[in-house]
């Protein structure tokens, strides 16, 4: 199977502060040398704690951010350094859904115009055809045609996220990057949106990159999962493998830290990590996880592990768990 999206040695650096501030100009390595393939039709889950670079990676993949280093090959085209103008036709193929449906919809425009906007920009269709397409899209995301004349504030959070999804699928993209699409929603509504995304994927043959911090949601939707820590992927493999037998000590701790509502009465062995995620401005030497790692050795403090194959997956650890 050829990958839909081939990402090699992707890095994204941000400059923070200024030359005139006390600490001077500093560089944050938000995404650090990420190599990854997204396969046609799969859902790739990106998980990690806040500041691990998962959202930045998502935005680099959609080229909302210019990348600092590396190569992005989407559907056979190298898009790493395309100008905004040259990128434009490709934007139809890569769409994005954002976390906060309140912030990502213009409050002064009707739903009809919000959903029609990508159609007007990218396709030259007559008005009647646009209206038909909007009605069709509303139906696909589970809204009714009379919702088209309303404004975003008239909708609940879940319905707004449906509008955001309708916009994203309007141009029949190949890849949709979902950045925390359900984290702002109530639990009872989350399941609706997760199901809707699964239905649309089947029906429209979509490929998803699903960025989220909620591990139970990521497990539910993902074919494969990439676990990130301080800008790098520490483990990458099939969703079921990662959850049943995590190989990286960080993955293991992360999964064990999730409170489990379905297993309330039995106590599980929990690994509580000490300390916080270090600052990406001054990451630790060696393995970036070693200051919090329960099984760190001397080698981990000096030599940075590479993401290498380990049974069915890839893991960046000198001493992967068996």
């Amino acid at each position: 199977m050829t990958p839909l999206y081939d990402i090699s040695h992707l890095s994204k650096r941000f400059r923070v502060g200024s030359r005139f501030s006390r600490q001077g100009l500093r560089v944050v390595q938000a995404v650090d040398n990420v190599t990854l393939q997204v396969m046609q039709g799969e859902t790739l889950g990106l998980v990690g704690e806040s500041g691990c670079g998962k959202s930045t990676l998502g935005r680099c993949l959609s080229r909302l951010y210019d990348i600092s280093d590396g190569k992005l090959v989407f559907d056979g085209t190298d898009i790493s350094t395309l100008t905004p103008r040259a990128m434009r036709p490709l934007r139809q193929k890569i769409q994005m859904v954002f976390q906060d449906p309140y912030a990502s919809l213009n409050p002064r425009r009707r739903v009809q115009d919000l959903i029609a906007e990508p159609l007007r920009i990218h396709l030259s269709l007559p008005a009647t055809e646009i209206a038909t397409r909007v009605a069709q899209l509303l139906d696909q995301v589970g809204l009714s045609p009379d919702h088209a004349q309303r404004y975003p504030h008239e909708f609940s959070g879940g319905q707004r996220q449906r509008i955001g999804i309708a916009r994203a699928i309007a141009l029949e993209p190949k890849l949709v990057i979902l950045d925390e699409p359900v984290s702002a929603l109530d639990v009872s509504v989350q399941a609706q949106i997760v199901n809707l995304l699964a239905d649309l994927q089947d029906r429209l043959n979509l490929t998803y990159v699903f960025v989220a911090h909620d591990l139970s949601v990521v497990r539910q939707v993902s074919t494969r999962i990439a676990v990130m820590y301080l800008g790098s992927i520490v483990e990458l493999g099939q969703a079921d493998d990662i959850f049943t037998k995590p190989a990286h000590p960080y993955t293991q701790a992360l999964i064990s830290a999730v409170p489990n509502a379905h297993n309330a009465t039995t106590t599980r062995k929990r690994i509580v990590l000490t300390g916080d995620v270090p600052s990406p401005i001054a990451p630790p030497d060696g393995c970036r996880f070693h200051p919090r790692c329960p099984i760190a050795q001397d080698r981990c403090r000096t030599e940075r592990p590479l993401l290498l194959p380990h049974d069915t997956r890839k893991v960046a650890c000198h001493f992967p768990l068996e």
Binding site: S50, V189, L215, R219, Q220, L254, N260, A264
Partner: protein, 318 residues
Amino acid sequence: MILSVRDLRVAFRTERGLVQVLDGVSFDVAEGEVLGIVGESGSGKTMTVLAVMGLITDPNAVITGSILYKGRELVGLPSREMRKLRGREIAMIFQDPMTALTPVYTIGWQIAEQILTHQKVTKSQAWTRAVALLEEVGIPRPDEAVHRYPHQLSGGMRQRAVIAMALTCNPALLVADEPTTALDVTVQAQILDLLRTLRQTHGSSIIFITHDLGVMADVADRIMVMYAGRIVESASRDALFAQPRHPYTTALLNSIPPLEGPRPHRLQSIAGAPPSLLALPPGCAFGPRCPLHQPQCDAAKPPLIGTPHAAACILVPQ
């Protein structure tokens, strides 16, 4: 009982009429107990504890019912009297530690201020106690941390500082409103561990609010499920998770994706969205979304029946 709430009702006068945000809420908190309140946004869980804390100061709020704290009526208590209780007897931990702390003073200053307000001690004694408290909540190098400003600490450390502040006077009742929601899971696990330890060392009763049933399973002894301003189910933690009675609780549990075992092809979701408090149905508020809905559900609001496992649903056999 350290806290006894009976038929608590809170309504707000608005341009569009009276909005009943709490509709006859009754519950007790026993000494040393952790009571969990779970519900979605707008279910009234935060409003319940704000009423207990006497923090509903909106002139358009109408509060009726009874809140007995150690036998003393808190509804209608003058704010001067309430202020003496708050912080000393009842303390609160908020969701967002950044807004709960003042950005312009050091952590130590803020904790010492709290001690000086409620106890007759000297400044240096208050400062020493602040350092000791920071050490107790697990902040590394507490003697340096007291001199830090909130923005210099990470989210988890800030929440620890807020917890230290809440503990200054050994409160008999600690109210924690989504204390871990803003935190990462690994840090959340640390804070939940800390609350468990503190409950043992200080013997405080805790009211713990969260929308996350997983967190609830971790910390609560007894759980109350709220929906549209009413309690729909109340039971011990084990009973609630083993045999949920209210269709809403069951549906809520089913809509959480499992962490182990086979993945369901589809999640069981709850249709629709939580109702607007401005237009509540006359019968059961969950009725329109309920998979077991019957015509008689719309007749009247079902009462909360059963001890110790109570549910507000006419379809539940008593």
